[in-house]
C-alpha cells in the first residue's frame, strides 16, 4: 500500500491516468492539429506532463480542495491541467471560453478561484480586465505565450515556465505527487461544472471521481468502447458532455482524443481524423445535412440522379440494415451498391466513415434528420442526461433505435416516474452537491435520494423513455389526460414550414395552437407555386398556406393519435399569427424560446376566439420597430379546424 504504485483501486482519475501510462505508455492519448500535422502525445508523455504541471501548481501554492479555473478551446495542455489539478486533490472549474469578461466574474467569485489556467492572450486580457473585481485570483497561467512579451503583471506566468518548474520539482521529489495522488478518494469532488441556469444564477455542480468514473464506465461497457477509439474534442470543455466523452471516458477506456486546429477547421479536421466515436448536438448534424444538399445541387444531372436514387434506397432500408432487421435480398444488394457508389464516399467525405458510435443530445432532433444519418449507415443514437447526472441517464442501445425516445436507462442508473410524470433518477453518477448551495441541493434531491430532473416523460411498451416536456409546463385537459405543450410544439416544428408554434390546452376541453410559418421555406414553396404575396402577414393569411399548415398539423395529429397517452392532445383548431414572434417584443427569450405565459396574455383575444368557435378574430397589437419606435398592426385572423383521429388504442379496443 505504501509504495509508489500503491493505489489498489482505479477509483480516481489521476490513478487511471497513471495506470494508462503503465499499461499502454506508447499508445496515443491525445493528438492536436498544430504546425500542419497531428502532434501526438502518448499516455506516458501525458502522464509526465500532467505530473509536471501538478508539481508546478503545488510550487505556486495550490492546495488540496482549491479550485482551478480553466478557460480556453480544447487544447491538450488545458486537459492536462484538469488532470494535474485532480492529482493535487483540487477541483477544476471549466468556463465557457467565449463568455465576455463580466460573465466570468460570477463564476470566479462563486467558486472562489485563486488559480486560473487560460489559453492565450485573449483570455489573459479578460482576466486582467476583471482582476479588481475578483480579489482572490492570484495566479493566471497562460498556455500560448504569443503576444505576452510585454505583460508584466505579477499574477501572470507561462505554462511553459510552470511546466519546467514542476518537472524539476517532480524529479527531485518523486514521492510528493505520488503521495498526493494516493490521498485522493473516490468520493472527492473531481470537477465542478456550472449549469447554464435558465432560471436564476448558474450553480456549480460538484461531481465526484466516483460519479464520473461510474458514468464513463457504464457508457464504455454499453457501447463496448476500446482503447482504439478516436474522438474529436471540439465542444466547450465547460460542457458536461465534453467532460464525459473527452475526459472521463477517455480516461476510463484509454482511447485517443483529438483536438482540432481551430474552430474554423473543425470540419477538415473531422475528415482527417475520421473519429470512431463522435458526439454532436442536433444543429451540427442539421448544418451538415443542409451543406450536403446544397453541394449536391451543383452536381451534374446524372450524378444527382444516382445520388437521389440511392438516398431513396437508403431511406427505405438503410436504418433497418443498420439495426440488423430483416431486409429483402434485392434491397440489400441495392444498398450495398449504393454504399459503394454514393453512401460510402459521402460518409467518407464528411469524415464519418469510421464512426462506430455517434451520439446526439441537448435538444430534440428531427426524425428526418435522425433517420438520414442512420440510413446512410452512421450509427447515430440519442442519449439523455443532465449536468447533475454526468450527462448519463438513458442511452439508446444498438439495434433498438426509436426516433422519438432517448433509449433505456443506462447501466447502474435507476429511473422512475413521479405521479406528475416527472423523471426521477438515482445512481452513482448523481451530483454530490451544488457548490455552496445546500438549499438547492436539498430541493433537487428528494428524500429517497432521487434527483428530480424537472423533465416529464413516460416509458413506452419496450421500456424506452420518451421525454415530453419540462415537468412544470405539463398540464391536464379537462378530461384528465396529459397536455405537454413542448412535446406537441416540437413535433410541429419538425415540419419545415413551421417556424414556431404555441399550443394551449391546460384546463381546456381540447388543444389549440398558434403557428408562425417559416417565411423562407413557405416563401420558396409559394414562389414555386407562382403565388404572389406581400410580406409575412399577407403570406400567412393565404388560404393555400392554411391548407399547407393544416396538412402538417394533421400529420402531427395522426402521430399523436397513435399514442394512447397523447391522443387527447390532438390539435383541433389553429390559426396562423399575423406577425413573427419576436424577442424584441418580449415574445421570445434571447435564446429564442417561447415565453408561453406572456404570449398567452398578449394574445388572449385570439385564444378566446379559438375556444369560442369563431371563424375569424380581429387582433390589434403593438410592435416595436428596429429603430425603437412602436407602432400598431392589426389583422383579421382566420381560424381553421384540423382533422383529428380516433386514438389507435380505441380502435384496438373496439
Amino acid at each position: 500500500m505504501s509504495d509508489t504504485h500503491g493505489q489498489t483501486a482505479l477509483d480516481t482519475f489521476p490513478r487511471l491516468l497513471m495506470e494508462h501510462a503503465r499499461q499502454r505508455p506508447d499508445r496515443p492519448a491525445m493528438r492536436e492539429k498544430a504546425y500542419g500535422i497531428w502532434q501526438t502525445y502518448s499516455w506516458a508523455e501525458v502522464a509526465t506532463s500532467v505530473r509536471a504541471i501538478a508539481c508546478g501548481l503545488a510550487e505556486l501554492g495550490f492546495k488540496r480542495g482549491d479550485r482551478l479555473a480553466i478557460i480556453g478551446d480544447n487544447r491538450p495542455r488545458l486537459y492536462w491541467s484538469v488532470a494535474a489539478c485532480q492529482c493535487l486533490g483540487g477541483i477544476p472549474v471549466m468556463l465557457y471560453q467565449d463568455a465576455v469578461a463580466q460573465e466570468m466574474t460570477y463564476v470566479l467569485l462563486d467558486a472562489e478561484i485563486r488559480f486560473a489556467v487560460v489559453e492565450d492572450q485573449e483570455q489573459v486580457d479578460k482576466m486582467l480586465e476583471i482582476l479588481p473585481e475578483v480579489p482572490l485570483l492570484e495566479h493566471v497561467i497562460y498556455d500560448d505565450p504569443r503576444g505576452m512579451r510585454h505583460y508584466s503583471q505579477s499574477q501572470l506566468m507561462g505554462l511553459d515556465g510552470l511546466h519546467e518548474m514542476g518537472r524539476i520539482q517532480d524529479r527531485n521529489q518523486i514521492d510528493f505527487l505520488d503521495g498526493e495522488i494516493a490521498k485522493g478518494a473516490s468520493d472527492d469532488i473531481s470537477v465542478m461544472l456550472y449549469t447554464s441556469g435558465t432560471t436564476g444564477k448558474p450553480k456549480g455542480v460538484c461531481q465526484t471521481h466516483g460519479a464520473f468514473i461510474a458514468a464513463a464506465t457504464g457508457g464504455v461497457q454499453f457501447d463496448r468502447l476500446t482503447d482504439r477509439e478516436d474522438i474529436l474534442s471540439y465542444l466547450p470543455m465547460a460542457w458536461v458532455g465534453d467532460h464525459l466523452f473527452s475526459f472521463a471516458q477517455a480516461m476510463v477506456a484509454g482511447f485517443t482524443i483529438n483536438c482540432p486546429e481551430s474552430g474554423e477547421t473543425v470540419m477538415t479536421d473531422l475528415r482527417e481524423i475520421g473519429p470512431t466515436y463522435y458526439f454532436a448536438p442536433p444543429r451540427v448534424f442539421e448544418n451538415l445535412l443542409t451543406q450536403v444538399m446544397i453541394r449536391m445541387e451543383d452536381a451534374g444531372a446524372f450524378k444527382r440522379k444516382i445520388f437521389h436514387h440511392f438516398m431513396a434506397v437508403a431511406r427505405r432500408c438503410g436504418a433497418e440494415i443498420l439495426d440488423g432487421k430483416p431486409v429483402s435480398a434485392a434491397d440489400r444488394f441495392q444498398y450495398w451498391l449504393g454504399n459503394l457508389l454514393v453512401l460510402g464516399p459521402l460518409k467518407n467525405v464528411l469524415g464519418m466513415s469510421r464512426i462506430r458510435v455517434a451520439y446526439t443530445a441537448g435538444a430534440a432532433i428531427g426524425p428526418d434528420l435522425f433517420r438520414f444519418y442512420r440510413s446512410i449507415g452512421v450509427n447515430l443514437k440519442q442519449l439523455y442526461g443532465q449536468t447533475e447526472t454526468c450527462a448519463y441517464v438513458c442511452l439508446q442501445p444498438d439495434g433498438q433505435i426509436k426516433l422519438d425516445s432517448v433509449g433505456k436507462p443506462a447501466p447502474f442508473v435507476e429511473v422512475k416516474l413521479a405521479d406528475n410524470g416527472e423523471i426521477l433518477v438515482k445512481g452513482p453518477m448523481l451530483l454530490k452537491a451544488y457548490y455552496k448551495r445546500p438549499d438547492a441541493t436539498a430541493e433537487s434531491i428528494n428524500a429517497d435520494g432521487y434527483f428530480m430532473t424537472g423533465d416529464a416523460g413516460f416509458f413506452d411498451d419496450d421500456g424506452h423513455l420518451k421525454i415530453i416536456d419540462r415537468a412544470k409546463d405539463v398540464g391536464k385537459l379537462n378530461d384528465g389526460s396529459m397536455f405537454a405543450p413542448n412535446f406537441i410544439e416540437n413535433k410541429l416544428k419538425f415540419f419545415q414550414h413551421i417556424k414556431e408554434a404555441v399550443s394551449f390546452g391546460n384546463g381546456r376541453d381540447f388543444v389549440t395552437a398558434f403557428i408562425n410559418i417559416d417565411i423562407e421555406a413557405v416563401g420558396n414553396w409559394a414562389e414555386r407555386k407562382g403565388m404572389a404575396y406581400a410580406g409575412y402577414a399577407d403570406l400567412a393569411s393565404q388560404s393555400a398556406v392554411y391548407e399547407l399548415i393544416k396538412e402538417g398539423i394533421e400529420t402531427v395529429n395522426a402521430d399523436l393519435a397513435s399514442d394512447p397517452r397523447m391522443s387527447g392532445s390532438q390539435i383541433k383548431r389553429f390559426l396562423i399569427l399575423h406577425k413573427e414572434l419576436d424577442a424584441d417584443d418580449g415574445e421570445l427569450t434571447r435564446t429564442r424560446k417561447v415565453r408561453r405565459n406572456f404570449v398567452a396574455e398578449r394574445y388572449q383575444v385570439l385564444i378566446d376566439g379559438l375556444y369560442e368557435g369563431r371563424k375569424s378574430q380581429f387582433i390589434e397589437s403593438e410592435v416595436k420597430y428596429e429603430d425603437g419606435r412602436t407602432g400598431k398592426i392589426s389583422a383579421n385572423l382566420r381560424i381553421e379546424e384540423a382533422k383529428t383521429f380516433t386514438p389507435r388504442a380505441a380502435i384496438q379496443a373496439a
Binding site: 504546425y35 500542419g36 502532434q39 486546429e261 477547421t265
Partner: protein, 273 residues
C-alpha cells in the same frame, strides 16, 4: 516532449530596443540611362526600428529599396551594412547578410504551393546537396523536416494554416501578400524590406497586416524598412520616416517631425489634400 514543443514554438527572443545604425546609405545616386531615379540620397536605418519611406508616385521609393538589397546598382554613393562599406550590393549577398524583402507587385512563385513558397525562404539555410536530395533520405529528409518545422511556425504566426497546401496562384490578393511576407520571414532576416505591403487591401486586411508587421518587429526584433502610401498606417507604426520627392530626400525624422516639416507639407502631404 512538451518542452521541446515549447521551444520550437517560440521564436528567438529579442527585445525591441532601438539600437545602432545597421544600414547607412550615403550620397546614393541612381540613373537609368539618362533618367535620374535617385539623386544624392543619404539616410540610415537603426537596429530594431521601423523605418518608413514615403513620397508621391515616382519619387524613387522602390528604387531605394532595390538599391538596398542590390537589385539595382547605384552609380554613386556608398552603402554601409553593419559597418562594412560597399559601393553596391548584389541580391545574393544581401540575402546571405540577412536582408529579406517583399515586392510591390507580388513576386511569389506562382506554380508552387504556399508551403513550398515559404520553404524557398529557407533556401540559404539548407546545407544538403543535389545528390542527397535525389535520395531524399537521411540528411536530406532530416533537413527538410527541420526546416518544415520552422516554416510551420511562420505559417502559424501569420495565421495561414488553412491555405498551407493551396497553389499561391489561387489565393486572393491579400493572402498572397501575407504569403510573401511569410516567405521573407522564413529566412529569419535581420533587416526586412517591405514594398507597399498593404497596397490594394481592404481595411480589415490592412489591420491584420499592420498587426503582423508590429508583431514581427516586436517578437523577433527585426528591423523593418517600409514603403507605404497609407499615411495613417505610416504615422502609426513608424519610428522614423524618410520622405522622397522626385528622387531627392526632402524630409527625415520622427512621424511628428515629418508631419510638421513645411517642405514635406508643401511637396507631399499638402498635395494630397
Amino acid at each position: 516532449m512538451m518542452n521541446e514543443m515549447a521551444q520550437t514554438a517560440t521564436l528567438p527572443e529579442s527585445g525591441r530596443r532601438i539600437g545602432e545604425v545597421i544600414l547607412d546609405l550615403k550620397n546614393i545616386s541612381l540613373r537609368f540611362g539618362g533618367v535620374k531615379a535617385l539623386t544624392d540620397i543619404s539616410f540610415d536605418v537603426r537596429e530594431h526600428e521601423i523605418r518608413s519611406i514615403i513620397g508621391p508616385n515616382g519619387a524613387g521609393k522602390s528604387s531605394m529599396l532595390n538599391v538596398m538589397n542590390g537589385v539595382y546598382h547605384p552609380q554613386e554613393g556608398t552603402i554601409l551594412f553593419r559597418g562594412e562599406p560597399r559601393q553596391q550590393m548584389d541580391p545574393h549577398m544581401a540575402a546571405t547578410q540577412g536582408i529579406a524583402r517583399t515586392f510591390q507587385n507580388i513576386a511569389l512563385f506562382k506554380g508552387m504551393s504556399v508551403l513550398d513558397n515559404i520553404m524557398t525562404g529557407r533556401n540559404l539555410k539548407m546545407k544538403t546537396n543535389l545528390f542527397q536530395h535525389a535520395l531524399f533520405w537521411g540528411a536530406a529528409q532530416r533537413e527538410e523536416i527541420e526546416h518544415r518545422k520552422k516554416v510551420e511556425e511562420v505559417i502559424d504566426f501569420l495565421e495561414i494554416q488553412s491555405i498551407r497546401k493551396t497553389p499561391v496562384g489561387r489565393l486572393p490578393y491579400g493572402l498572397q501578400k501575407r504569403v510573401e511576407l511569410a516567405r521573407a520571414l522564413a529566412a529569419e532576416p535581420t533587416l526586412l524590406l517591405l514594398d507597399e505591403p498593404m497596397a490594394g487591401m481592404n481595411v480589415e486586411e490592412k489591420q491584420d497586416m499592420c498587426r503582423f508587421i508590429l508583431d514581427v518587429n516586436d517578437q523577433f526584433g527585426t528591423t523593418i524598412v517600409l514603403i507605404e502610401h497609407d499615411m495613417g498606417v505610416v504615422m502609426d507604426i513608424s519610428d522614423r520616416v524618410v520622405v522622397l520627392d522626385y528622387g531627392k530626400k526632402i524630409g527625415d525624422g520622427t512621424p511628428d517631425e515629418v508631419k510638421n516639416d513645411p517642405d514635406v507639407i508643401a511637396a507631399y502631404l499638402g498635395a494630397s489634400h
